[in-house]
Amino acid sequence: MADPSRVVLEIRNLTLRFPTYGGAVHAVNGASIRVDAGERVGIVGESGSAKSVTSLMAMRLLPEGRFEVAGGSVALCGRDILAASEKEMVNIRGRDVAMIFQEPLTALNPTRRIGRQMLEVIRLHRGLSGRAARDLAIRLLGDMRIADPEQVFGRYPFELSGGMRQRVLIGLAFSCEPKLIVADEATTALDVTVQRQVLHLLRAKANSLGTAILFITHDLAVASQFCDRLYVMYAGAVVEEGPTAEVLGAPAHPYTQALLDALPERAAPGERLRSIAGSVPDLTAELSGCAFAPRCAQASAVCERRPALIPTGSDGHRAACWLAAKAVQ
């Protein structure tokens, strides 16, 4: 059992909808995700499975009034995020949790110099100004191995390469020494050499500060290299979770297995790739039963009931699949 004092983020059974003209979109359907202090936790899964929406709720960053929470809870360092006032959230966002978005260009204001933007964040969240703020900013850039930080300070975002911008944002995310950093596809836009460097920097800095990282990615290889534990999501719910090596090495849910089978390195060049037949469920209807069953080769009558996450036998590894339950017995 997890020591409650070490839990940084606890999302429990979150159910969330977007009301639209065409009816409600049931985006999150009972997702539970936990991140402990200093842990690196990955979320992988289907495009549209609510990885971004779920993790944005850790900071309550979805536009107010556009969504409805129908059930569940979100706690950050023990505090109820769903009940916090917007004013409290501003503090929490600066102090306990920071976010690195996929597209660094949209996260930075294109018309203002890098240095000014950094100083603003540092003033807001750390209450530092003048010399002290500047020193911290320069040190953060240096930590991210940006050569000549003084000079980068005076540049505009578009004058930096994608990799440099992303390192600026990662440095900035650490400026308030948060307990948790949410990184949504933070290295996707980087080439593999820069990506490797950035992952190293992220890991080293997080280790030295004890920061936990919630790392969302489509790249199973990167998840394998970077994350201690993994959640696999499908249709707004977690279908498998466990230590990364277990989940990717001995997947217990047919969806996880199907994802691995679809990797291009599992087919000869030019050969057809194995995508998952069928289409993703219609989220405007409420889901009943296992959401993956219509596309699952091993589906049977029991799949009309929705399976809970069932332990597979090895430590902390669980799958929401009746087959996993049978395998244990």
Partner: protein
């Protein structure tokens, strides 16, 4: 496969002015492309890989006429240029937020020919299904979609124009691997059926290995290695290609495996280095690297169209085989 070049780039260079003095003159330039020579064959899939900021998207923008070369030329076979579509790297900014998805997808058709709304919606629905979206979703707006779903809208839009050439700038990096497989299969089918030519820019080496006939490796605005995909990936001749391949993540391989990570900052494209552009980071540097290098065949190659911009290419390849 036919071997008539569809498009020939000759010494294409692009530089962007940065910063202005009080007379409105640029203070400096960013040298995004520095002499790109390549002939794209009709019907081939050309992969373009390279470091962030090395000029891949700028190259794509040159092909689509969004950016004019500062030097060098492009020669197209007749008509080919009109039948080119691009899927941009960042779908967030390339989809008009005010239009419903069916309008976005059929925009190229809408601009070209007169069709009824019902007809356009039917076409949009068909394309949406081909890229793994649901037909019912085409009345929604871009912000109601996830990152990967928006990427697929952009791909459907490019397909609606029935192009002959498609430039794909990181088309699958926002997609899960199953949708990625579906899209790559679809692109392969279209190529077989209609003889399409693709220029695929990607950071994902597995995708490039799977999908491309030829690979161009770029560094600091130049092609540093060019050849058949299998040769370049199995027998990289340029030290930068080696560095790149060494960093490819693999399931189960530790982040710490492979060559040591250099602490150095990436090279600046404000002031271009003299001689070989990769010299400062190259572990194999010797006398002679201070001279400019040309993209050329080398001794010991196994495919005669395998070129590298390194005077030591022959030694380096031998040392791998």
């Amino acid at each position: 496969m036919t071997h008539s070049p569809l498009l020939v780039l000759d010494g294409v260079s692009v530089r962007f002015p940065v910063g202005m003095d009080w007379l409105g003159r640029p203070i400096a330039h960013v040298h995004a492309l520095n002499g790109v020579d390549i002939a794209v064959e009709a019907g081939e899939v050309l992969g373009v890989v390279g470091e962030s900021g090395c000029g891949k998207s700028t190259l794509a923008n040159v092909l689509t006429r969004l950016v004019k070369p500062t030097a060098g030329s492009l020669a197209w076979t007749v008509g080919a240029r009109q039948r080119l579509q691009i899927v941009f790297q960042d779908p967030q900014s390339s989809l008009d937020p005010r239009l419903p998805v069916w309008r976005i997808i059929t925009e190229p058709v809408f601009l070209r020919e007169h069709r009824t709304v019902a007809d356009l919606k039917r076409l949009a629905g068909d394309l949406a299904e081909q890229v793994g979206l649901r037909r019912e979703q085409i009345g929604r707006y871009p912000h109601e979609f996830s990152g990967g779903q928006r990427q697929r809208i952009a791909i459907a839009r490019a397909l609606s124009a029935q192009p002959d050439v498609i430039v794909l700038d990181e088309p699958t990096s926002a997609l899960d691997v199953s949708v990625q497989a579906q899209i790559l299969n679809l692109l392969a089918d279209l190529r077989r059926a209609r003889g399409l030519t693709y220029i695929l820019i990607s950071h994902n080496i597995s995708v490039v290995r799977h999908f491309c006939d030829r690979i161009a490796v770029m560094y600091l605005g130049q092609i540093v290695e060019l050849g058949p995909a299998a040769d370049v990936l199995a027998r990289p001749a340029h030290p930068y290609t080696r560095l790149l391949l060494d960093a490819v993540p693999e399931i189960g391989r530790s982040l710490d495996a492979g060559l040591a990570i250099a602490d150095t900052e990436l090279p600046s494209n404000r002031r271009l280095p003299a001689g070989c552009f990769f010299r400062d980071r190259c572990p194999f540097v010797v006398d002679g690297c201070e001279r400019p290098q040309s993209l050329a065949p080398f001794a010991g190659l196994t495919a005669d169209n395998h070129l590298a911009r390194c005077h030591r290419a022959a030694d380096l390849v031998e040392d791998i085989v």
